[in-house]
């Protein structure tokens, strides 16, 4: 898988560069596979991500809902990514950093 790595019950999403509508289709497909392999938690690691658009944000909202908020978190958001998350008040996902 290109964007999702599995470590036990945790599926970690890491998209290099732009995380936008075009990537969400592929990320969702990989996440589905991760759920099938027993993942129940999702972590979004923005360390390699330089930009996130509203489509990707909304897709992550759906993912958060699917695994339930307590099983969803994000980390390493900075610059444009952090600004975009703040715009929609989604920077609370980073609260546990």
């Amino acid at each position: 898988m290109k964007y999702v790595t599995i470590n036990g019950a945790v599926a970690t999403i890491s998209v290099e560069g732009r995380f936008d509508l075009c990537r969400t289709v592929e990320v969702q497909a990989e996440l589905t596979s991760a759920y099938q392999q027993g993942c129940t938690k999702v972590l979004v690691d923005f360390i390699r991500t330089t930009y996130i658009d509203s489509s990707a944000e909304r897709d992550l909202v759906k993912t958060r809902r699917k695994v339930r908020p307590e099983n969803f978190s994000a980390r390493n958001a900075s610059n444009l990514v952090l600004a975009a998350l703040k715009t929609a008040k989604l920077d609370t996902w980073l609260k546990n950093e």
Binding site: K2, G17, R18, D20, L21, C22, V25, E26, Y51, D53, S54, S55, E57, R58, D59, V61, K62, R65, A83, A84, K86, T87, A88, K89, L90
Partner: protein, 337 residues
């Protein structure tokens, strides 16, 4: 490396990310006809210098076959065009690897995103176009729009109207996820909720733009529970009597204002929850004095991210990656501050 083998390698590399695309090769025109009939590919790349038939003749024959019309054909190695050549694209002998690979990738990206065409889809596209507001010009302002879906259907919606009292311009813009028939239905629902809210605001039933988004959010959760769709939106009201622009955003990151005498636009940043994110949240209305304002642009982030004022143009790696929608409002009446 032989030219066809080199091209096959480029195509394989370009399509690395697609797991379910199969590449077939044929070493002559006649074999090509057989393989075409067997596999019915969506894309044919034809060397003009085939051993048994001109690549352009091969392409014209395929194009005129029953299934050929649905196949896109690239002919490579072309030095001159002959009459009645029916391929879709022609490439010269000096093929640039990067450009050709990009062409291939773009083709399959579009195929990948393409929604299955059906009568339903055609009807949905027509319906979506019918919802677009007409251009509007008064003595106070002129409005233009940009509405460019990424796929066949847009997840974006725009609307605006001039109040009967002639003192107010009301409008909304929203950005939902998805570009298929399901999204079309969701887009319609969001549009109805927001427009109803704006009309209530216009009639004085509600007193703040924040209530429009709050009510739409609550209604969405009441209707769909945890399946509520997530939408970015902005509603606005130009009060020409008081010369004030009122606006309230739900996840739309910014809008642009240009003042008279200025060439650059000022970005007004906004922070608020998306509609459909949490059931019980407030949305704060804000306002800006309109004096001296020459232009206001509301847009989805699919548009704002492409503007050079927001972008290092050397880092642009995607000509367009989402639905693009914008409402461009030229003011005629405001004075210098």
């Amino acid at each position: 490396m032989r030219e066809p083998a080199k091209i096959a390698l480029w195509v394989t590399e370009a399509l690395e990310k697609y797991e379910d695309i199969k590449i077939y090769t044929a070493n002559s025109g006649l074999t090509g006809f057989v393989e075409f009939n067997e596999y019915l590919p969506c894309l044919l790349i034809v060397d003009n210098d085939l051993p048994d038939i001109s690549g352009m003749s091969f392409s014209s024959i395929v194009k005129d076959m029953d299934k050929g019309a649905y196949c896109t054909i690239y002919v490579i190695g072309v030095t001159s065009l002959i009459q009645n050549a029916k391929a879709d694209y022609y490439f010269s002998k000096e093929l640039d690897k990067d450009l050709f690979s990009m062409q291939i990738k773009t083709f399959f990206d579009r195929q990948f995103m393409k929604v299955q065409h059906s009568d339903e889809l055609v009807r949905a596209k027509m319906k979506q176009s019918e919802f677009l507001p007409e251009k509007l010009e008064t003595s106070l302002f002129k409005i233009d729009t940009i509405y460019s879906p990424f796929g066949d259907l847009s997840g974006d919606g725009i609307d605006y109207w001039y109040g009967e009292d002639k003192d107010g311009l009301y409008g909304l813009l929203f950005d939902c996820t998805g570009h298929d028939i399901v999204s079309f239905l969701q887009v319609g629902e969001i549009r109805a909720l927001l427009k109803r809210g704006c009309k209530y605001f216009q009639l004085g039933v509600t007193s703040s733009l924040g209530d429009i988004l709050k009510n739409a959010n609550e209604d969405l959760f009441a209707l769909h529970g945890d399946d509520a769709i997530c939408t970015a939106a902005i509603v606005f009201f130009f009060d020409f009597k008081e010369k004030v622009l009122h606006y309230c955003s739900a996840g739309i990151p910014s809008f642009l204002i240009r003042y008279q005498g200025s060439l650059s636009r000022k970005k007004i940043l906004m922070e608020n929850y998306l509609i459909g994110y949490e059931p019980d949240v407030e949305f704060e209305e804000k306002k800006i004095v309109l004096e001296g304002v020459d232009e206001v642009i509301f847009s989805s982030d699919g548009f704002s991210e492409l503007l050079f004022e927001d972008l290092d143009k050397n880092k642009l790696d995607n000509a367009k990656s989402d639905d693009v929608s914008a409402i461009l409002i030229q003011m005629k009446c405001t004075e210098n501050p």
